[in-house]
């Protein structure tokens, strides 16, 4: 698997490496997972233009090996219908590849609009991946070569 470093695009797409092992309490054994999540900082207005950009960027960066996407909604203040359409396409793409999708740092404005458009309900049904520091054990040795290992970051997730 290849994880590229952060790309300073207008939307600030960043690859973040999570290298960890997950303890599965039901099975009583450790399961190692190496995953690479694409963190996407969504701009203030998620409109037709930005939704198209989002789709393009996701297509180019998206990897079937690691179809994990975190959409950072902290800056989002406005979402229109084409923007919603773009978001749904993104969810569709991730679902098709059996990946995970999360929204992080959702601003109150975005939360209000997402609730209005029932996206929060959709997100709950979405088989997202959990980033919870308490469930992870850092395993630096699993980090890919050339990429500095990072501690798993606990991210606020709101759907």
């Amino acid at each position: 698997m290849e994880c590229k470093p952060a790309v300073n695009k207008p939307h600030l797409y960043r690859n973040r490496v999570f290298s960890h092992s997950v303890k599965n309490p039901e099975e009583g054994r450790n399961r190692s997972i190496m995953s690479c999540a694409l963190v996407v900082k969504v701009p203030e207005a998620l409109d037709a233009k930005n939704a198209r950009k989002l789709g393009r960027e996701l297509k180019s960066k998206f990897s079937s090996d690691s179809p994990f996407v975190v959409l950072d909604f902290s800056r989002v203040k406005d979402i229109d219908l084409p923007g919603l359409d773009g978001l749904l396409s993104c969810m569709n793409e991730v679902a098709r590849q059996d990946g995970g999708l999360q929204l992080s740092g959702v601003s109150p404005e975005a939360a209000t609009l997402l609730e209005l458009m029932r996206v929060n309900e959709l997100m709950q049904k979405f088989p997202g991946f959990s980033i919870d520091a308490q469930q992870f054990e850092v395993a630096p040795e699993m980090a890919p070569e050339g990429v500095p290992a990072e501690s798993p970051v606990q991210m606020p997730v709101a759907a």
Partner: protein
């Protein structure tokens, strides 16, 4: 006894913005909700109806952006369009032989009984009676207008001289200051719940469900709890309304949308398959009560102005009325 009334109302920033608010951060401006409909009638209309019951002379309504903060302008208030109109209205009533002047600044909602207030004023033989709730003045005052006759000074100065001699009418009933949109929502809840005298202006079609005239309800619409639907509003297929909720006049709620514990202000279009919960919705914005945030909705397919011809006509009438009210400003 000849009675007259002067009502003052803070005007909206623009006649096109029935519910325009400053800022998206939840901070409230010193905006008046006097003309926003709640359960079928605005606070101004309800106040006027109460004044009419007293059989007063035709009341004067003064509206402006520089309306005084108190019902009785202070002696140092500078001349301006609003205050000059107020002085003129007062002079006209005094010269017409009015004996009691009811001064109301329309801002807070209360269940004050004006006839009881008049009786109290008459019995107290006070030159000025002001209504006070436990948290301050309610901006309702009665003045003995005979004391203002043959007055050479400005009326506001003459009135200021009466303030030290005022009698307080202590009111301990229901009060809603209507300072924030939360208050607007609470008033809607209290009206539907019968906790105040604010009654829905419609027919109770079934227990706790009121409909005004010309409401179009698709048979598939589910209504639960205490709900008011205002005149000329239309609810399309598959909508669900859960109370306490109010959809004011000339609104359109499109297919499959859920309205739950919310207030939809007059002339609003709410798009298809949306989820409106614990919110106050106007023609351009949605205010979420829990997050205390107002969001401007740029896409009119989600939330916008109801452009149904009947709604346009109603908006035009409302605009002409507001112009008429401001003519004296």
């Amino acid at each position: 006894v000849q009675i007259a009334a002067i009502l003052t109302v803070a005007a909206e920033e623009s006649p096109r913005h029935v519910f325009s608010m400053a800022g998206k951060s939840g901070r409230e401006s010193s905006h008046s909700f006097a003309t926003a409909e709640i359960l079928g009638a605005s606070l101004l209309d309800r106040t006027l109806a109460k004044v009419h019951e007293l059989e007063t002379l035709p009341p004067t309504i003064l509206s402006g952006r520089n309306v005084a903060d108190q019902v009785l302008p202070s002696r140092s208030t500078r001349s301006g369009r609003f205050i000059d109109s107020w002085e003129k209205a007062l002079c006209d009533y005094v010269n017409a032989g009015v004996e009691m002047l009811l001064l109301i600044r329309v801002g807070a909602y209360s269940d004050v009984d004006y006839s009881e207030l008049l009786q109290f004023h008459a019995e107290s033989h006070s030159p000025l009676t002001q209504v006070y709730a436990s948290d301050g003045s309610l901006d309702i005052a009665i003045v003995d207008a005979t004391l203002l006759r043959n007055n050479d000074d400005l009326m506001r100065r003459a009135l200021s001289n009466l303030i030290p001699k005022q009698t307080r009418f202590e009111y301990r009933g229901y009060v809603n200051r209507l300072r924030r949109r939360h208050d607007l929502h609470r008033l809607m809840q209290d009206g539907l719940g019968g906790r105040c005298r604010l009654r829905p202006m419609g027919v109770e079609v079934r227990p706790s469900v009121w409909c005004a005239d010309d409401v179009e309800l698709d048979p598939t619409v589910a209504v639960n709890g205490a709900v008011f639907i205002g005149a000329g509003s239309r609810l399309a297929t598959g909508c669900s309304i859960t109370g306490p909720s109010s959809i004011e006049s000339q609104c359109q709620i499109d297919c499959g949308t859920v309205i739950d514990n919310s207030l939809v202000l007059q002339g609003t279009y709410v798009g298809m398959a949306l989820d409106v919960r614990r919110s106050v919705v106007s023609r351009e914005t949605i205010f979420n009560l829990d997050r205390n945030v107002e969001v401007s909705v740029s896409d009119a397919r989600l939330i916008g102005r109801n452009t149904k011809p009947v709604a346009v006509l109603a908006a035009l009438t409302s605009f002409l009325r507001s112009e008429e009210a401001q003519a004296g400003d």
